[in-house]
């Protein structure tokens, strides 16, 4: 691997090796200001490689690899190399993380307490987290929330926020001063643009918070708020966690404690304005 990039994001250090310079150049630019892996030792290695030597140059396609790999992973065109790197880092976490219980959720913090938002792709959890970070909340992450099984605290993992399709324009309009990565069109999920977490998020990435509220947002519905009972929350979170089963009893303890300790609501919303108001109202009612 000729080109290398290392970074620490929250408690996790990554080393990314690439057959091409451009994805590394983009990562270094967007993650500028982030620390290096602790003691220089990364937790996970990511490899962006060409399937055959000539594919480095001819119709270059980036294969995703690293400590943990998935069969059937589709390569991406080199123009989407940044997306490949981000997906590869997600994959290492999804398959290899054992220190923290992973929830597929965005997380924002205020006054030491954490709001978690979980849902399917397109639910709006990344967009809402980005918008809340403009309104007095600290962004902890948009893809994974890390729950410490011993303390129950949520740890920040502020990767580049992945905005898709219509959400890109919403974020660009709301945050004109923010730093964005390149606009990537024609990805398997449509258009993607990455948003760089603000300086406050990066500076506070080692400060955990106490989970206080869990929301299941759904974008594109008439406004509605419904309580979700702990049994259903537990069921849905096991589906939203890639390492719940692998964590064994620690995962069970962490998740039951989380589910019994915080309220959970489903919020349906037609647009982000409604969602932001619903979030503030529910938070203030805690």
């Amino acid at each position: 691997m000729k080109h290398v990039f290392s970074v620490r994001i929250g408690p996790v250090g990554f080393r990314v090796g690439s057959d091409w310079r451009e994805p590394i150049r983009q990562l270094a630019a967007l993650y500028a200001g982030y620390p290096q892996p602790e003691d220089g030792v990364p937790d996970f290695t990511v490899r962006l490689f060409a399937q055959r030597p000539w594919r480095r140059v001819i119709r270059p396609a980036v294969m995703i690899g690293g400590d943990f790999m998935i069969p059937d992973a589709a390569p991406l065109p080199l123009a989407q190399g940044l997306l490949a790197a981000e997906m590869a880092m997600n994959l290492q976490m999804a398959l290899g993380q054992r220190r923290y219980l992973l929830l597929h959720a965005s997380a924002v913090e205020r006054d030491g307490r954490v709001l978690l938002m979980t849902g399917e792709s397109g639910s709006g959890k990344s967009t809402l987290a980005a918008l809340l970070s403009q309104r007095g909340w600290r962004l902890m992450g948009d893809e994974f929330a890390l729950i410490d099984p011993i303390t129950g605290l949520a740890h920040a993992f502020p990767r580049l926020v992945s905005l898709k399709n219509a959400a890109i324009a919403v974020a660009e309009a709301a945050m004109p001063q923010a730093r964005f990565g390149p606009l990537l069109k024609g990805t398997p999920k449509g258009a993607i643009r990455h948003l760089v977490p603000d300086a406050a998020a990066v500076a506070a990435m080692d400060t955990p918070g106490k989970p206080a509220l869990l929301l299941f947002p759904r974008f594109g519905f008439t406004p509605d708020i419904r309580d979700v009972a702990p049994g259903e929350v537990f069921m849905r979170l096991t589906q939203a966690s890639t390492n719940y089963v692998a964590m064994g009893e620690r995962g069970f303890d962490a998740l039951t404690r989380l589910v019994l300790g915080i309220p959970a609501q489903a919020i349906d919303y037609p647009d982000t304005g409604h969602a932001l108001a619903q979030v503030e109202a529910l938070w203030n009612a805690l």
Binding site: A73, A94, V245
Partner: protein, 137 residues
């Protein structure tokens, strides 16, 4: 036997010996009271990385796809030449929902999809196929 079917939740088991026993239903024979948590691994992890399904798998790379999805020698009458590139996970997901594979005419798309539906564990593409069928939490 009490006619009152209301659940009284607050009375713990061992107290209240004679009056105030909590109601308990055994449930119907065909119903289920246990859900075992299955690993979400296959769906979530593969969704994180866009996956693809080679048609047919590398072991039978020279084969063609018959109308029923089986792999047959190339040139077999009525069978279709395989796609040049593996099928993208997103395209297969839409086709599973009742659409058609993009850029592929109807009968060929049906044949390819029958091949995909017949995939089993161990065949290249199966992990991708399995992940497409599970809702991502």
């Amino acid at each position: 036997m009490s006619e009152d079917g209301e659940q009284r939740n607050d009375i713990p088991e061992r107290e209240g010996v004679s009056t105030g026993r909590r109601a308990l239903m055994l449930g119907a024979v065909g119903a289920s009271a246990i859900v075992s948590i299955r690993p979400a691994l296959a769906s979530t992890a593969v969704s994180i990385v866009h996956c693809q399904i080679p048609v047919p798998d590398a072991a039978r790379a020279s084969g063609w796809i018959a109308a029923d999805g089986s792999v047959v020698p190339s040139g077999t009458a009525g069978a279709f030449a395989p796609p040049r590139q593996p099928l993208k996970g997103e395209a297969v997901k839409q086709a599973l929902a009742g659409g058609q594979l993009p850029g592929v005419e109807y009968e060929r798309s049906q044949a390819y999809m029958k091949y995909v539906r017949n995939l089993h564990s161990g065949t290249s593409g199966f992990t991708c196929f399995a992940s497409l069928q599970m809702p991502r939490g």
